[in-house]
Symmetry: C2
Subunit: 348 residues, 2 copies
DNA sequence: TTGTATGCGTTATCAT
DNA sequence: ATGATAACGCATACAA
């Protein structure tokens, strides 16, 4: 069919093994023959067959990506495009390819991971999010396959290599930011409690309130999906309270946009009537009306570091680092302001 | 290392070739031995090695995806997440895996495509967008590799299999929609003219105006990148005109959000002062303030059909269909209203 | 420094 | 209906 190593060998009057060594730039081959072989390769338009190489080397130079289910609305979150950018750039630098799992349901995805691993299609995997009691993580641990998690593993935190933000600390900080603006009725709208990130952020929120001596109000804590429908319901429930919050900590920009949308319909002004701070700082955060104050969690780096550390792990050039913390930064825009109500109270 | 076909063969007291036939469910193997072999596979925990199979079969069951450059801001458009969903679901149904190109620049991506193709890593490719004078399309045609383009090829439209909307017609329709609302000063804000979709939409816009007997105003046609910064500049330029438009056709939701954002800053009300209609109808379209009237181009189907037709093409079960048109639909929300100014004029 | 031979795990072509 | 055996294209241990 196409040009193989043997064709090049014949053309250059050497053995196939010599051609192979030239490809690997083996120092034991003389510069003369290297040059001759390389010319032959150019001449014939030779390109190495990755499949054959993978079989012989027992390594594919492919990284498997475990995506959320395609039916999952989370799949549409710009978070994933951004994390993909980071993974892509890092993988490209090290000449690794990226292969995605496909599948709608959790079971389909799990089966896909098994195929990838047992079928020896990939050298390692990156899990794009971390669930509570993650079946896939459990499996990969048992199989002893190199893998890296984006987010914090629910179990075996000390053993599983992961790239994460300090979400506990970040949420503490934003909550304290709102406290400094004189808010004391602060609600938390988080995503599914099945995601570890939600738990971490909730804990950070609670810690800040606790340190400020504010009693936790269960009605102020709402868990909905990270996306639009969730946002709408969450808001309507909160506003119905006798003592509605004056500030919201929302765990995701997209969800925060949904909240903004609903507040606009209800003629509630942001930030005049209610302040909002959200997370992720994706492109659309600054396109909200008003532009959202959001925690930049450096999504690109999350992806970049994940692929980078996975590759280090695969080639075990070193004892793998178990935890990489990517820094975050509060980006202040126009969705928060001082709580005047409390100001008046304190002036009395 | 791991369990191979030979181990199963020994365990079941048959030849490796027999095991292979059982895997393929070859009818010439007796049910008895099939059962015995399958039990042996379960027992030993056998999983076929895809790499070895690929080498022997000369087919990988992998589809290559040609993404925009990761440095490209277009990469962040929710369009791609959605198209990925469609591709993923379709590929999964046919047991194909998805592999992405990586790379920042056009050249890096091209090199990646060559690696994929010559390295025999993939059985075919899907191009996620269509550029004017697309180098990659040219290359794939010459290599005679199965591929499908999402969007309209700039050249060889009759020969290259592609999945597209009727963007010309769709843009005609939305422009006529605005005309019916009594707008006659309608501007067009499109993306890069390097993308075929931009050209198609521009032509549709022009056609509608022409049929309505409205003279084209060059100052009303602006091309900027599909994203935010572009949107801002475009708007400011338009509003500076002595006779500013009362309606905008914006070629992308994300860009339209940027436009909304800027208009809000300038205290220009939508739709009272200016009407906006945009394209794609991604999730965030309904989260604009006001929610955007947008053309739903059925992005999921674009991806789904692309993978489906590529796979048909690969297995050439039939003479490949050259063109698949995915239907579009105008989703009316709250960003457009009747042009009162012209109403008054006509009432005089 | 280079060549020979074998293996990587399958599939497929002959045989039997 | 099943078993040997030769590809598939490359890497590598062992020779020379």
């Amino acid at each position: 069919m196409s040009i193989t190593i043997k064709d090049v060998a014949k053309f250059a009057n050497v053995a196939p093994s010599t051609v192979s060594r030239v490809i690997a730039d083996n120092p034991r081959i003389s510069e003369k023959t290297k040059k001759r072989v390389r010319e032959a390769m150019k001449e014939l338009g030779y390109h190495p067959n990755f499949i054959a190489r993978s079989l012989a080397r027992q390594s594919t130079k492919v990284i498997g990506l475990v995506m959320p289910g395609s039916a999952d609305i989370i799949f549409q979150n710009p978070f994933f495009s951004n994390v993909l950018r980071g993974l892509s750039e890092s993988a490209h630098e090290k000449n690794y390819a990226l292969q995605m799992t496909t599948g709608k349901t959790e079971d389909e995805i799990f089966e896909g991971v098994v195929q990838m691993v047992q079928g020896r299609r990939v050298d390692g995997l990156v899990l794009l999010n971390s669930h509570v009691d993650d079946k896939i993580m459990e499996y990969l641990r048992k199989q002893n396959v190199p893998f890296v998690v984006i987010g914090k593993p629910f179990k075996y935190v000390e053993e599983i290599t992961h790239v994460d933000n300090d979400n506990f600390q970040a949420t503490r900080e934003v909550t304290e930011y709102l406290l400094q603006l004189n808010h004391d009725r602060i609600a938390f709208i988080g995503g599914s409690l099945d995601l570890v990130v939600t738990i971490e952020r909730l804990l950070g929120y609670e810690k800040a309130l606790q340190l400020a001596g504010i009693e936790l109000n269960n009605q102020y804590v709402i868990h909905e999906e990270f996306l639009r429908e969730g946002g709408r319901e969450a808001v309507s429930e909160l506003l119905k309270l006798s003592d509605p919050p004056t500030a919201l900590v929302v765990a995701d920009d997209l969800m925060a946009l949904g909240v903004l949308n609903m507040l606009a319909e209800l003629n509630v002004s942001v930030p005049e009537d209610i302040s909002i701070v959200s997370f992720n700082n994706v492109l659309i955060a600054e396109m909200g009306n008003p532009p959202l104050t959001s925690v930049d969690i450096n999504i690109f780096s999350l992806g970049y570091e994940a692929a980078k550390n996975l590759i280090l792990h695969i080639n075990n050039t070193q004892e793998p680092i178990k935890r990489v913390i990517v820094p975050h930064k509060l980006i202040i825009r126009s969705s928060c302001m001082k709580n005047i109500e409390n100001d008046l109270v304190s002036l009395e």
